[in-house]
Point group: C2
Chain length 390, copies 2
Amino acid sequence: MNNFRFHIPTELIFGKDAHQNVGKEVRKHTSKKILFVRLAKSSLERIGIYDDIVKSLNEHGVEYVELDGIVPNPRLSKVREGVEICRREGIEFILAVGGGSVVDTSKAIAVASCVDCDYWDIVENKELAIERALGLGTIITIPATGTEMNTSTVITRDEDNLKRGRPTIHPTFSILNPELAASLPKSRVAQSVVDMLAHVMERYFTNTPGVDLTDRMMEGVMKTIVRLGSKFYHEGYDYDTVSQLMYAATVAHNFSLCVGRQNDFATHNIGHELSGEYDLSHGESLSVIYPAWMRYTRDHNPARMAQFFVNVFGVENNFLDVHDTIDRGISALEQFYTSLNMPVRISQTNIVDCDIEKMAVKASEGGKRTLGFYVTLGHDDFVKIYKLAL
Amino acid sequence: MNNFRFHIPTELIFGKDAHQNVGKEVRKHTSKKILFVRLAKSSLERIGIYDDIVKSLNEHGVEYVELDGIVPNPRLSKVREGVEICRREGIEFILAVGGGSVVDTSKAIAVASCVDCDYWDIVENKELAIERALGLGTIITIPATGTEMNTSTVITRDEDNLKRGRPTIHPTFSILNPELAASLPKSRVAQSVVDMLAHVMERYFTNTPGVDLTDRMMEGVMKTIVRLGSKFYHEGYDYDTVSQLMYAATVAHNFSLCVGRQNDFATHNIGHELSGEYDLSHGESLSVIYPAWMRYTRDHNPARMAQFFVNVFGVENNFLDVHDTIDRGISALEQFYTSLNMPVRISQTNIVDCDIEKMAVKASEGGKRTLGFYVTLGHDDFVKIYKLAL
């Protein structure tokens, strides 16, 4: 087990009707006007919370400026727009209502409003310590990214579709009401399930020895995501199912499961090029890349990969032939994705004329960048993995 | 799943040599003289950290007043002594170095130093909100109680040995260096393992529906505690084993595993009377009471109890006879305790002339108090459970 520091200052407010007191929560942290970053008004009205939120803000005398129009794989230009408002209006606190795109945009605004440079300078200078930021409260409408309780922030630069993650700030508070996910379209459910499962998988594949405790905790979380994710997708919303998925999404990515162990995260980053270049959803990029990554790295530590499939997917262990266990395991993973109507090959997506070399060059930043710690991969590996995923 | 709020402001600093920078960590939170509450100097010298700590405090110019002499099942009189020092010296921050007794004493001092009343008034008035407290840093020498990352505080009143828990404050930071547990005597290892396992068990037995996610996470933690606890006890210290146990002790009791579900905690409280009245160690009180509590409550939800034994202790499930599964499960639990040389009956302890009625009256506060939420128990139940434990 490695040395670590662990600190999550975010307060989680979880449950039925939890969003209805948002004005009171905001007031604990600022007395000024706030920036209210959100999904389209029509989306929040469909979910049924726009009026509730505005009412609670008004009741507590919270004035706000609204910002919407955030797209999936959210854009740097929108961050810049938000920063300009915050500076102009002297804003100290942001309320973000939506999923990962809205919250990540808000994190970037919160940080970039307090520095002299552009947000992309922060992305490019990973050594730059973030010393000051605006406060941030969130109301999460989709259980998926885990952004509500971590510092992870992923923004795409408009001009060249370069999608890059950068740790920024923890939200001050996050409100999670599982009821808000009741009307989530099936396709979004599937993408969310794939994403939250992948967040745990990225941590599970590690070379750090002596991590049985977090192995067992992760297996418990992943088993539950697989079972309840499937239930939500096939049988529709019920409170107990979705509340557990919502908390699973949070713990999957709040770093409590990966203390003291090295993570991998190559798959996420290899997938980012599919999203950035072809606007594939984040979930689809993962369901396409993970099976390919597994076939490519299967010989690195076959015992760990077999353990994953046996303990998470209930694949019968072939004690005498670990490769047989892995074969059946990769099939089980693909069947799970397919059962959610998620693609497991690029050919099953809308992408035509997939430019593998271009993506490999971008992912490797012209051959300079490697990805992953379980198996460290570079440009030529990316080419092979994209090809396995065709 | 129930509604919940979850907020752990404690920063965890975990790993080899982690205590050597304690002066720097303290300085982040106070510029004044601190109260240094600790195990006996000779104990810290045996562990090999007294000089390190003093050196680091001196290097960062941290002046301190020392307080020691804290006994297991720590006493109210010592809390009062600490409060007097803090008030006299204008202290704003406490550094606690030791196990649960030292930290709980420090939490109580931190709170009682900021109010006009006695600490026991706070214990007796559970409605009293704690609005202000001194800051608290800890260095944990024994992985067990989880007090390093929760608000739990257990103090015993000297005059009548009344042992009572009360939520107070989270430590500001906690330093966990698994190496400090290298020389822990076998008997303390056993007590610690029983205690941390019990902290998860108290949360596992619940009536809240829709909690599969935390069930699976807890099973993972408990399986690991059983396996690695046994390894530490029988094979002695190795870093990877003890580091995982140390983090297991923390998550077992930092409330991350029991979000959205009702806990039980009857066993802890029934056991407290054995510790308070006969000075039995906390771990021994649990290994004696848990099997009795299980035999007494086994018919409440046999499926859940069978699930516990099958998923945690690997007991073979008898699908056709759940009671057979439970019988073999209780035996497996008792065998585990016995393998650690822990008592599973009062007759195996040093207690002679056990006054069951007196303990039942104390536990029920003269018949007024019930304990537990999985099965709510009163005076007459306590008598029966103590008798089953004889």
